[in-house]
């Protein structure tokens, strides 16, 4: 086991906290990417509060592990984690998308400490991650680059360009996680534009592939540890997730890919994650 029962409980608590902040960032009356942010919350919690080496006092620490959200619209989960760590004051979380805010609709590195790039124009983040992994190889550094991609996002051709390059350059310091939440903006991925099968595709492209329940803290931690042992290949963790996980009225619903919560819905969601 990569993590003890105690650690699992702590990380579950951390994930719950992230979801609480996600719900509050969106609040009521403004649209926000609830679905994708909640589907990755458990993965983000394990990365930021367990796995990754990083230093909020020194966000540009050269040896830090890198976290890239290729599906940049799910940034609320990352914003919440960064705020929790003190990369910026927690009060800022209340300013999502306001003019001049550091909490842009999609993550911007020069606005928010702890953000590594500019992602959200879909399909590009995995390539940026490849560049960072290549630089790590040139500089003989042992940092890892973690990159979350979406199962809708991988319809972008650039993802497959990057996947070829990562395998060709044997980027074993690159760990991609597919947030397989089954729903894109306009509906079910299987019905709208089926990108399956996933594991087979990535394996065919030369990646070391694992499949996990993306809401099971123990499985996430174990897969990330296994990724450390892989040599000569990039790693893809296909994480089975649920869109808007944890918010029953929104779970699995395309309407909450980027939706507005009513006052009533917001109150329900907030209470779910309150301590």
């Amino acid at each position: 086991m990569s993590v003890s029962a105690e650690q699992i409980a702590e990380l579950q608590k951390a994930a719950k906290k992230l979801r609480f902040d996600i719900v509050n960032m969106i609040g009521t009356g403004k649209p926000g990417h609830l679905g994708g942010s909640c589907s990755i919350a458990d993965i983000v919690a394990v990365l930021y509060f367990h796995k990754m080496r990083h230093d909020p006092q020194n966000p540009k620490w050269p040896d830090r592990d890198r976290f890239l959200l290729s599906k940049g619209h799910a940034a609320l989960a990352q914003y919440a984690a960064l705020a929790e760590w003190g990369y910026f004051p927690k009060e800022e979380l209340g300013t999502l998308k306001e003019l001049g805010t550091i909490l842009q609709g999609h993550p911007e590195m020069r606005r928010m400490p702890g953000i590594e790039a500019y992602t959200g124009s879909l399909g590009q983040g995995l390539s940026v991650a490849c560049g960072m992994a290549m630089a790590g190889k040139i500089d003989k550094k042992d940092y890892r680059v973690y990159c979350i991609v979406g199962d809708g996002e991988i319809a972008e051709g650039q993802i497959w360009e990057a996947s070829l390059a990562a395998a060709f350059y044997k980027l074993d310091n690159l760990v991609a996680i597919l947030d397989k939440n089954l729903v894109q903006a306009t509906g079910s991925i299987v019905q709208r534009y089926d990108t399956n099968p996933h594991a087979e595709k990535w394996r065919g492209f030369g990646w070391h592939v694992m499949e996990i329940d993306g809401h099971d803290i123990g499985q996430i931690a174990e897969a990330l540890d296994e990724a450390d042992q892989v040599k000569g290949q990039p790693v893809m963790i296909v994480a089975h997730t649920i869109k808007s996980k944890g918010v029953p009225f929104a779970e699995g619903k395309a309407d909450f890919h980027h939706g507005i919560m009513t006052q009533e819905q917001y109150e329900v969601a907030r209470r779910l994650f309150e301590d």
Partner: protein, 310 residues
């Protein structure tokens, strides 16, 4: 006119090697055109800092961004049309972040004369100019190519540099320092000012010589930085003349003609533009023949100068 001729591609490749020796941060990315763009010279000497990313320009630009974000100075290469057109959004995102990515578009303009419209690049300057934070360089000759490549590496931010495929005569001054943003006078004159970039600087010089015999004095200015445009310098350089001509191996929309016209707004100066007239190129067995077909000749510059003089 006895002039030394150089191939800008070769000069670029050699300069990359020199830079690579001096600075370990220099890395080069290619999309299977290294034999033509001449980045093969860098690959031979620094294989560990050279990344063939296959024929995938989008991934190449974003990967260059990732390398830049890790402290590298990344030169991403392809033909101008592919380097700017295929990864437009990836370039745009790099510009949002002012990332240290250098995009080098080889075989620019009509200089890939044989390959036809799909491979010729007549709108690259226009699309790159529209992106905030972008800097656009267009060397007139081998001398300037070398200085520009060095300046691009030294500059912290995104750069697009377009490079000609064919050998061109040296027209710039070996001893003059290159500075991003500064247009330079290549030939003094008083009646008409001709603003040009790339190979068209040479064509403009030839036109100026021909006109001199007829008693017309032409000032030739090399606008080798197409963005940012030093509007004040352009206005000064157009001071005292009776007319203005722009010459570019690019479509008439969105390139030098647009930039100069805007810089000179409010000034009642007659102006003409020698450029590709909003149409695509085609194949030819000869570069000069193709340029002539699209009206990019010294004779066309002569006509334009006469026209603005009325």
């Amino acid at each position: 006119m006895q002039m030394n001729t150089q191939n800008c591609r070769t000069v670029y490749g050699e300069t990359l090697v020199e830079l690579g020796r001096q600075d370990e941060r220099i890395v080069v990315l290619e999309a299977d055109l290294s034999k033509t763009t001449m980045t093969k010279l860098f690959e031979q000497e620094f294989p560990e800092r050279f990344f063939e990313v296959g024929i995938g320009e989008q991934n190449m630009i974003s990967t260059a961004a990732g390398l830049a974000l890790s402290g590298k100075i990344a030169f991403a290469n392809s033909f101008a049309v592919f380097a700017t057109g295929r990864p437009y959004d990836q370039i745009r995102v790099s510009c949002i972040g002012k990332l240290n990515v250098k995009i080098v578009g080889s075989s620019c303009g009509l200089s890939d004369f044989g390959d036809g419209a799909t491979h010729q690049s007549i709108e690259d300057v226009a699309i790159m100019r529209a992106i905030p934070n972008m800097t656009i360089l267009s060397p007139a000759d081998g001398i300037e190519t070398k200085k520009m490549t060095r300046a691009a590496a030294a500059y912290d931010g995104p750069i697009y540099m377009r490079i000609l495929r064919n050998p061109v005569p040296d027209v710039t001054d070996e001893n003059q320092e290159f500075e991003i943003g500064r247009p330079t006078v290549i030939r003094q004159g008083t009646d008409v000012v001709v603003f040009a970039h790339g190979y068209m600087v040479y064509k403009s010089l030839k036109a100026a010589e021909a006109l001199e015999n007829g008693g017309v004095s032409v000032r030739v200015v090399n606008v080798s930085t197409l963005k940012p445009i030093d509007e004040e310098a352009i206005r000064k350089l157009a001071g005292g003349v009776k007319g203005v001509v722009t010459v570019e191996e690019h479509t008439i929309i969105g390139g030098l003609a647009s930039a100069v016209a805007f810089a000179l707004r409010g000034q009642a100066l007659p102006m003409e533009a020698v450029a590709v007239q909003d149409c695509f190129g085609q194949s030819s067995l000869d570069y000069e023949q193709l340029l002539a077909h699209y009206g990019l000749t010294d004779a066309a510059v002569v006509d334009a100068v006469k026209k603005v003089l009325g």
